[in-house]
C-alpha cells in the first residue's frame, strides 16, 4: 500500500492546521499562507500524520489516495 497526498489549492483557507499536525509534509506560503505540500508521498511512518492533517483541514482541501 502507498499513500499519495492530493491538494486542492483553491479550497485552501490558509488555516495552517495541516502544518501544525504534519510539519514534515506541509508548509505555508509566506505571502498568503496557502499550504504547500512538501512531500506528496509520505513514508509509512508519516501516514498517521497525513491522515490527521486531512481530517483537521477545515476546507477539506487535503485528500489522501491509497494505492
Amino acid at each position: 500500500m502507498s499513500l499519495k497526498v492530493e491538494f486542492d489549492e483553491p479550497k485552501c483557507v490558509a488555516a495552517g492546521q495541516c502544518v501544525m499536525v504534519a510539519p514534515d509534509l506541509f508548509d505555508q506560503r509566506d505571502e498568503d499562507g496557502v499550504a504547500i505540500v512538501l512531500d506528496d508521498s509520505p513514508s509509512p511512518d508519516q501516514y498517521d500524520e497525513a491522515r490527521e492533517a486531512a481530517a483537521v483541514c477545515p476546507a477539506a482541501a487535503i485528500r489522501l489516495v491509497e494505492g
Binding site: K11, V13, D30, R51, A55, A59, A60, R63
Partner: protein, 400 residues
C-alpha cells in the same frame, strides 16, 4: 458504566453519531482511524451527503462554485468508512437508561453516542426573510442577488458581514443593520469592529448601528423606532440556537448547548462535538461553545477518541480558531476573545488595515487576531496563547 474497565473501545459494539456534517463526519472518521471495527450509525437530518458550510456565504453565494464542490469527502471515501448512513432521518428523542436514540417511528440502540447536531439560525417575527445555514438557504439567496437589487442584512456578525460583502461585490445595494453601537464589538473588540464597519462603508454599504429590527416582511424590515427600511430581499443573521430540542427531557444537561465536561462527555458513553457542544476548556478555565469550522473537526475527533479510550480519556483543550473573508481581506483569530478585558494592536496599524491585535483577559494573553497580515506572522502568537503566556511576557513578542 458497562465496559468501564475494558480496553479502549471494549464493550462498545455500536456507536451512533447524530448530525452528519463537519463534527459528525470527523467523529466517524476518527473512530475508524482508531481501528474501531464495530458498527457506526451516522444519522443526519439533511438529505445531502456531508457538506461544508463556510463556502456558503463566500464562493457559493458569489456563484464562484457549484454545490458539488462542497462535499466534505468524495463518495468513495465515505463508502470506505462502512457506515450505516441514514440521511434525511431526524433524531427525535433519547432514552439514556435503555441507550436508545428515537428516530420518529423507529429507534436505534447504542453503546456509545456522539451528539453533533449543530445549530439553527435565530429568526425574527414576520415573514419573507432569508436565513443562511444550509445549502438550500444559500442557493435561494443567491438566486435573488442581482445587480441593483436592495438587500437588507439584519445583524452585522461574521455571517451578515460576509454576505453583505458578497452582495455588494455582485452589485446589490446593501444596508447592514446592527443593534450594537459597533459591529462585532463583543466578539473582537471595539477598535477592530470599527475598522471592519469602515471597510463596509468604503465599499458603499450603508452601515446603520444602534438600530433594532422588530420584524421583517417581503418588502423590508420594521425598526423599533417606527421607521420602515424598504428592501427587495432581507437576510436575517442574528445568531443561532443549538439543536438540542431532541434531547429535552432526556436527563442530559442543556444550557445554550449540550453541557459537556473537559473530555467532551455529557454522560457516561455520551459525548458532544461541534457547534452544539458547550464544554469546559481547561486551557482557558471556562465553559465555551464555539461555532467555528475547525473546532467541529477537532472536537469530533476528540469525542470519538475519548469514547473509545474510556478511563484513558484526554481533556479537549484546543486554542479555538476561525477565519472570515470580506472583500478579499482575510481575518484570522486564535484563542478565546469573548469577554476580553483589553485589546492592543501589536503589529501593523488599524489605518492601513494590516494589523495584528492581541487580547488580554485577566493577566493572560487569551487571543490574537490578524487582518490582512501574512498568516504565518500569527503563528508565534498562537503558540503563546496555547502556552497560557502572561500578558506582560507576551509583550516581548511585539514587533512595533
Amino acid at each position: 458504566m458497562p465496559g468501564g474497565g475494558d480496553p479502549p473501545g471494549g464493550g462498545v459494539n455500536r456507536i451512533v453519531v447524530v448530525g452528519a456534517c463537519a463534527a459528525g463526519l470527523s467523529a466517524a472518521e476518527a473512530l475508524r482511524r482508531e481501528k474501531f471495527g464495530g458498527k457506526i450509525v451516522l444519522v443526519g437530518e439533511e438529505i445531502d451527503a456531508p457538506y461544508d458550510r463556510p463556502p456558503l456565504s463566500k464562493q457559493i453565494l458569489a456563484s464562484q462554485w457549484e454545490a458539488e464542490r462542497l462535499a466534505l469527502r468524495p463518495a468513495e471515501q465515505i463508502a470506505a468508512l462502512e457506515l450505516d448512513l441514514r440521511l434525511g432521518v431526524r433524531a427525535t428523542g433519547l432514552d439514556l437508561a435503555s441507550r436508545t436514540v428515537l428516530l420518529g417511528d423507529s429507534s436505534v440502540e447504542y453503546d456509545g453516542l456522539i451528539v453533533a447536531t449543530g445549530v439553527r439560525p435565530r429568526r425574527l417575527p414576520g415573514s419573507g426573510a432569508h436565513v443562511l445555514r444550509t445549502l438550500a438557504d444559500a442557493l435561494a439567496l443567491r438566486e435573488r442577488l442581482k445587480p441593483g437589487r436592495r438587500l437588507a442584512v439584519v445583524g452585522a456578525g461574521f455571517l451578515g458581514a460576509e454576505s453583505a460583502s458578497v452582495a455588494r461585490q455582485l452589485g446589490c445595494e446593501v444596508t447592514l443593520l446592527e443593534p450594537a453601537p459597533v459591529p462585532l464589538a463583543q466578539a473582537v473588540g471595539v477598535p477592530v469592529g470599527e475598522v471592519l464597519a469602515q471597510v463596509h462603508r468604503d465599499q458603499g454599504v450603508c452601515v446603520r448601528t444602534g438600530v433594532t429590527v422588530t420584524s421583517t416582511s417581503p418588502t423590508g424590515v420594521q425598526l423599533g423606532d417606527g421607521e420602515f427600511v424598504t428592501a427587495d430581499e432581507v437576510l436575517v443573521a442574528v445568531g443561532s440556537q443549538p439543536n438540542t430540542g431532541w434531547l429535552e427531557g432526556s436527563g442530559l444537561e442543556l444550557d445554550d448547548g449540550l453541557v459537556c465536561d473537559e473530555f467532551s462527555a455529557a454522560a457516561p458513553g455520551v459525548y458532544g462535538a461541534g457547534d452544539v457542544a458547550r464544554w469546559h476548556n481547561p486551557l482557558f478555565g471556562v465553559t465555551m461553545r464555539v461555532e467555528h469550522r475547525t473546532n467541529a473537526a477537532e472536537q469530533g475527533m476528540a469525542a470519538a477518541r475519548n469514547l473509545l479510550r474510556g478511563s484513558d480519556a484526554r481533556p479537549f483543550a484546543p486554542v479555538p480558531y476561525f477565519w472570515s473573508d470580506q472583500y478579499g481581506l482575510k481575518i484570522q483569530a486564535h484563542g478565546y476573545l469573548r469577554g476580553h478585558d483589553a485589546v492592543e494592536i501589536v503589529d501593523g496599524d488599524l489605518e492601513s488595515r494590516r494589523f495584528m491585535a492581541a487580547y488580554r483577559t485577566g493577566d493572560r494573553l487569551t487571543g490574537v487576531l490578524s487582518l490582512g497580515m501574512p498568516p504565518k506572522a500569527i503563528r508565534p502568537w498562537r503558540q503563546a496563547v496555547a502556552a497560557g503566556t502572561a500578558w506582560s511576557v507576551s509583550e516581548t513578542l511585539t514587533t512595533r
